[in-house]
């Protein structure tokens, strides 16, 4: 198996929004969800997750609520808000445009210049 990739600068917020958009999750759940979707190809620092969650909540894109986890522990569940949904959409669009442009540049051959 390949060595997991480190996260690109600034993409963690977007990934958290995406993960939470699939259903309410607690912090650890977010971590697991991203690893599961990425098929363990992404490495996320556990410590960096929480500041990101707090920042997103502060900005009003997610809200939190205490609940019970699957193994009967108290856990704080995060959910996407309407504003967060819009934010995720614009972030996704931006990312897609950006990766198109970058891919285009990287695929350029000398003849095309």
């Amino acid at each position: 198996m390949d060595k997991p990739l480190d996260l690109l600068q600034g993409t963690l917020d977007m990934l958290i929004l995406k993960a939470v958009s699939l259903g309410p999750l607690h912090g650890y759940g977010v971590l697991l969800r991203i690893q599961q979707i990425s098929k363990d190809r992404l490495e996320i620092q556990q410590g960096s997750l929480y500041p990101a969650l707090y920042r997103l909540e502060h900005q009003g894109w997610i809200t939190s609520e205490w609940g019970e986890s699957e193994n009967n522990r108290k856990a704080k569940y995060y959910r996407l808000t309407a504003a967060g949904k819009r934010r995720l959409q614009t972030e996704t669009d931006k990312w897609n445009r950006m990766s198109d442009v970058i891919a285009g540049i990287l695929h350029t051959t000398p003849e095309e210049v």
Partner: protein
Amino acid sequence: MTLWSRFRSWLRTTVRRSHVESDMGAELRSHIETYADDLMRTGISPEEALRRARIEFGGIERVKEECREARGVTLLESLIQDIRFALRMLRKSPGFTAVAVLTLALGIGATTAIFSLVDATLLHPLPYPHPEELVRIEDDLPGAGATDAGISIPEFKDLQRSGIFQYVVLEIFGSANLTGVSQPSRMQYEGVSPAYFAMLGVKPELGQTFDPQDQTPGFTLDVVISDGLWRRAFGSDPHIVGRSLRADNDLYRVIGVMPPGFRDPGRTVGERNTEQWAGLGFSDDPARSSNRSLRLPLETVGRLKSGLTVAAAQSQLDALVASLREQFPDDYPADSKWTVRLVPLKENVVGNVRQSLILLLGAVALVLVIGCVNVANLLLARASVRSREMAVRQALGAARKRLVRQLLTESLLLSLLGGVAGLVILFCMKGSLLRLIPESLPRLNDLSINWTVMLIALAASIAAGVIFGLAPARQAGRLNLASTLRGEGRGSKGSTEQTRTRRVLVVTEFALSLVLMIAAGLLLHSFWDLLNVQLGFNPQHVMSVQLWLPSPNDPKTDIYGTAAQEAVFARELLRRSRLLPGVQEAALGAEPSIPLHHDRNRSALIVEGRQRQSTQTPLVERSQVTPEYFHLLGIPVLRGRLFNDGDDENAPLVAVINQAMAETYWRGEDPLGKRLRLGAGRAGVGQRASKTWITIVGVIADARTESLANASIPQIYLSLYQETPKELAIFLRGNLNASAIPEEVRAMVQSVDPQLPVYGAQTLNDAVTASLEQRRFSMDIVAAFAVTALLLAALGIYGVISYIVNERTHEVGIRLALGAQRADILKMVLRQGLSLAIAGAAVGLLGALIVARLMAGLLYGVRPTDPLTFAGVAILLIGVALLACYIPARRAMKVDPMVALRYE
């Protein structure tokens, strides 16, 4: 939306900080435990799983800190930290803190006090709803040389019908004897047309006011009284409505009591202190006249239709006046140029004092700025002591921005403390400060420290904190770390720059102080000139006491109804007055004959042979006196004769005029023997003089009995026995006991008629002083501010020179070691101080020239560029500066070269 949620989250974290903290701890714990659960499933022991989970999670405290930062708590928390730290720093140097806080308390307290005065007078002059609609309506006859010439009844009706006003009201002021209460007393009354209270828009506290539609002709017997009279004469009787009172022996029914603080927007203190309002119909006797040229000495006040500006109303009124002039050419001859002028009522109240108050506000603002500059200087001195601390903190990783913020927090805290201290002092001294304010200062509001004033104090504090905090904060931001830490603070670039900043501050201080001192000097000079003006009369050893003869509406009950009746009383009064202890001379006069008594009593003047020129006539100040009056006051006769005892009710009417009147109306002619007639003055006065020709028999020298500042106001005197006034003044000259006279005169008057109130006893010297009290008030305050400013500036220059001397101890040591004389050192230091003081004085002189020009209207007898004041103040300032520098200079002189050189 996001802004709101951000704010909510910030609020939540701020308000429920401990809750959020424990929440965060629980969440992170739950994460680690769940992770450990997962690890345990791979077969690891619980302890080991937990340990690994913790390691992989990373530093939990660091994560928490980052989370806090993400929620935006840091700003508030760091602010709290800053404040705590600043408080600790201020506590650590109590001397510095005390000086700074006191300086600022003085500045902010004084600014707040003056502002509250300005707020109550200039900013909110009229305590009535929609004050901008209220105007005074004045009739001018520029062709006949008369302004505010009174109004005729048909004109009043024209104004009411004009559609320009919601209400037009006529007013007449007077005083009446209130009897039937424990001690007969005089009260100020005002006859008003019924719409008066509706126009001002003020509701009574008890009962009711007049019905604006009331058409009752003549006087009504209903009166509204002031809160003051209600308390003074009726013991705050809650059932006052319906009770009656006796004014000038007439029975009136009280129908309402006005709320405390309600005042008439009058021109004089007396008018503003009106205690009783009587309804006047002005539709029948005594105001039935349909004669347009019969101008009554009434005040006209109106409330404009809402939405109408004064300018728009004026142009509508001009059109009305033009059409009336066309319609009644006989009443309004072209040469009298009749016009009607609207004056915002506000102008009437504050017009005279605006300049003084703005001057005071400017002066106090200067004191505040000087105070700030001084504190900035102190802070800079401290900053140089603390530069090592700042350097160490920067070296340890504190951001410059953060340090600047912390220094600003310190100075803001200092200024807020100063502001609070200032307000506390102000509250404690409120009573004694209020007593300083002259009664003649026109204000209808009670002074109060209200929210606006508090806000201004807060704003002043914050502005002050930022102003004086900026210099040291900038300094800290530019600290050269390496050299400061190596202990090269002395003589390094940072410190030269600091010295320069401090020099600039001192020069500023001096310039501002000079401006203030010159303003004070000019006021002082004017005041001195006025005090030493040639009065034209001799106020020494003279007292005046007033009384008022009632004039009841029913002539049959008036025991002083005819001139003969009153003359008997007057002669008896004079006879008994001469018997009072110490009295050498006695005279009687009408109230307006009291020198410098600010009461207008003007009559229309009709000169024989000239009345064809215009039916509209000029007005002159007139009064009645007994023959002894002129000698008692030492006013010499220039031509003709004075009155004598033969000028009584049976003799032809005679008059004495002053030089100014002779100059105005008979320039180049001999006024003696000329005849004139006077229009009706106040109610009950001037009955005979308005019907009969009066012959001029004498001319007296001008005396400043009307105004200290103006010697040549035309005046005419009639014989008191021929034209008997109701408001009398007794003049006494001699070796008088000023504290006993009021009681002695009261007993003497009441031994003749026990129903008469006696009031207003004063020495003429006091009257002269009192007429200057407004000037004295602004002069005293500006002078106090100027002295404060001078002291602060002296402190400032002392601080800077001390600092420079300290800096140069080493250099001075070397100089001395190389053979410099101690006197040279003294000179060197003094020269430095002198150059600062001179630079400050030069800048200040420029500012003072501008300020002096602006305050020209407040000066008397002295030009705004008075060289004596300018030079004197500049020399005084430089002298004080030299004195302040002398102390550190002596210290420099006494430097021991050995000690100084070893010091490094």
